[in-house]
């Protein structure tokens, strides 16, 4: 299935977010940190892109949101992976791995 160029970046961001909360709920700041550290400091997400994406995923039903008390001793919104989100994560991960495999084959020096 083809992926349009303008779709690539938002789709990857969604995937990264879903992956970050697979192990458990995190708040927005922690998700940002998680993406930074787990990608080996390759991908940085800015707040301006992160929060709209979080809300969008929440609207789609892939993330659920709850208020909780964070380590800063303040109210924070925690995002958690929902069942539908878990399914979406698996789907997108598979798609992504296929993409990577295909590109790796393409780019191998012949």
């Amino acid at each position: 299935m083809g992926i349009r160029d303008d779709q690539l970046l938002p789709r990857t961001l969604d995937l990264m977010i879903l992956q970050s909360v697979e192990a458990g709920p995190l708040h927005g700041y922690a998700i940002m940190e998680a993406i930074w550290s787990r990608s080996g400091e390759l991908f940085r997400v800015e707040e301006g892109a992160l929060y709209p994406a979080l809300h969008r995923l929440q609207l789609k039903g892939w993330l659920g949101a709850e208020w909780g008390l964070s380590e800063a001793n303040r109210r924070a919104k925690y995002y958690r992976l929902m069942a539908a989100g878990r399914k979406q994560l698996a789907r997108e991960r598979a798609q992504w791995q296929r993409l990577v495999l295909g590109m790796a084959r393409m780019l191998k020096p012949s």
Binding site: G28, Y29, G48, H55, A72, R74, R75, K77
Partner: protein
């Protein structure tokens, strides 16, 4: 399904704003702590974190937009819920609607009465008989410029003088026609002092047909509106406000000389207080006869068939209604337009020209009446039973029906 209901019940607009603020505040706080841990002083950390997070307005906007789609969905579902509930309880529906109808009707009636009596008084005789005439069904190439953008207008307020005359010859429903040739800001000299004032150039029938009475002296009449002017010279009528401002209400004003666009006039009289003329949107200072234009400008407006210079008005004959006048005007319009057309106009343009319509309108202006009634109706509607809005507070109940 339950998840969606919970999400829907979770946020109202106020809550969303507060939530976004809280989320942002938390983010800033976390950033600040990190920076402090990296060694910055508390103050430096605070300002650095603000700078790092940057312009928050945009992401708040985007987030708000995401949620706004959801508001629309819940609006539709609320509306369908309301209809379902109404269908179940017919009696309530009937009572509710009747109450609304009575309330709206009462409000309209009161408003009409008050509007007629107080809101737009014209110090003229039987103001309800006065109408202004407009051209509609305009040629498709006609354009107006509104706020710098070209638009296709629905009606024209001005007509060329030959058309005004043609209409005057053929109409049967008016006690008389009058009008202003526009006018505008003109160069005045009073006792050698130059200034610019708002002048209205009107037909001789203007004051007589409106039934205005002068405060002092006399007002313009038909014998003033002749080429070359009356034997005593061109008369002018000034407004009450101008009399106060320029003459300090001196009794010597009537008979004083005044020069308008370098043509000599004599002040013949003063209009009553609160009479501001009928030109849309402006207060007139001086009224002068239409024919005096010839003394000021060389332009042949009497025979100019293309320039819309007249703002035509009329007084309905006693007993004639607006509807009857409208029908009559529709009937005579083709003949009037045929008389008034410019023979030099190319044939396709002529066809559009002859297809125009002439319609009467209320002289007192635009749809204030409609707007106020609508506002009142909305107010009444909002005061109806809280039953329709209960559901907001019980998001977890299954949708009834």
């Amino acid at each position: 399904m339950n998840l969606f209901l919970r999400l829907r019940g979770l946020f109202t607009r106020r809550d969303l704003e507060a939530d976004l603020e809280t989320e942002l505040a938390h983010h800033l706080e976390m950033k600040r702590r990190d920076l402090e841990r990296e060694g910055l002083t508390p103050d430096a950390a605070r300002s650095a974190s603000h700078r790092a997070v940057g312009n928050t307005t945009r992401w708040k906007e985007q987030t708000r937009e995401i949620w706004s789609f959801r508001y629309l969905e819940s609006l539709f579902s609320d509306a369908s819920y309301a209809f379902r509930m109404l269908r179940k309880d017919r009696i309530f529906a009937v009572v509710g609607l009747t109450t609304l109808a009575l309330g709206i009707g009462a409000t309209t009636a009161i408003f009409s009465l008050v509007n007629g009596l107080f809101l737009r008084p014209l110090p003229v005789e039987r103001p309800l008989e006065l109408v202004r005439l407009v051209l509609t069904n305009l040629p498709p190439t006609e354009r107006q410029w509104v706020n710098g953008r070209a638009v296709r207008p629905k009606e024209r307020m001005t007509i060329p003088f030959p058309m005004y005359e043609a209409l005057g010859r053929r109409q049967q429903v008016f006690a008389g026609m009058f009008g202003s040739g526009g006018g505008g800001s003109m160069h005045i000299e009073l006792n050698g002092v130059p200034m610019r004032l708002r002048v209205s150039v009107v037909t001789g029938s203007f004051f007589p047909l409106m039934g205005v009475q002068p405060q002092r002296g006399r007002l313009l009449e038909d014998s003033d509106d002749v080429p070359g002017g009356p034997p005593s010279g061109w008369p002018a009528v000034i407004s009450d406000s101008m009399w106060t401002r320029m003459f300090s209400r001196s009794p010597q004003t009537v008979g004083a000389s005044i020069s308008i666009e370098r043509a000599p006039f004599a002040i013949a009289g003063i209009a009553p207080p609160s009479f501001k003329g009928t030109d849309p949107g402006t207060e007139t200072d001086i009224w002068i006869p239409l024919s005096s234009l010839e003394s000021m400008f060389p332009w042949k407006w009497r025979t100019d068939r293309s320039f819309g210079m007249m703002l035509p008005r009329a007084r309905l004959k006693t007993g004639i209604t607006m509807e009857q006048a409208a029908q009559h005007l529709a009937a005579i319009a083709p003949a009037v337009l045929e008389d008034a057309k410019d023979p030099a106009m190319p044939a396709p343009d002529q066809k559009h020209f002859l297809a125009m319509k002439i319609e009467p309108r209320d002289l007192r202006g635009t749809n204030d009446r409609g707007r106020l009634v609508r506002r009142g109706a909305v107010d009444l509607a909002c005061r109806s039973r809280g039953r329709f809005i209960d559901r907001r507070n019980k998001p977890d109940q299954p949708v009834p029906g």
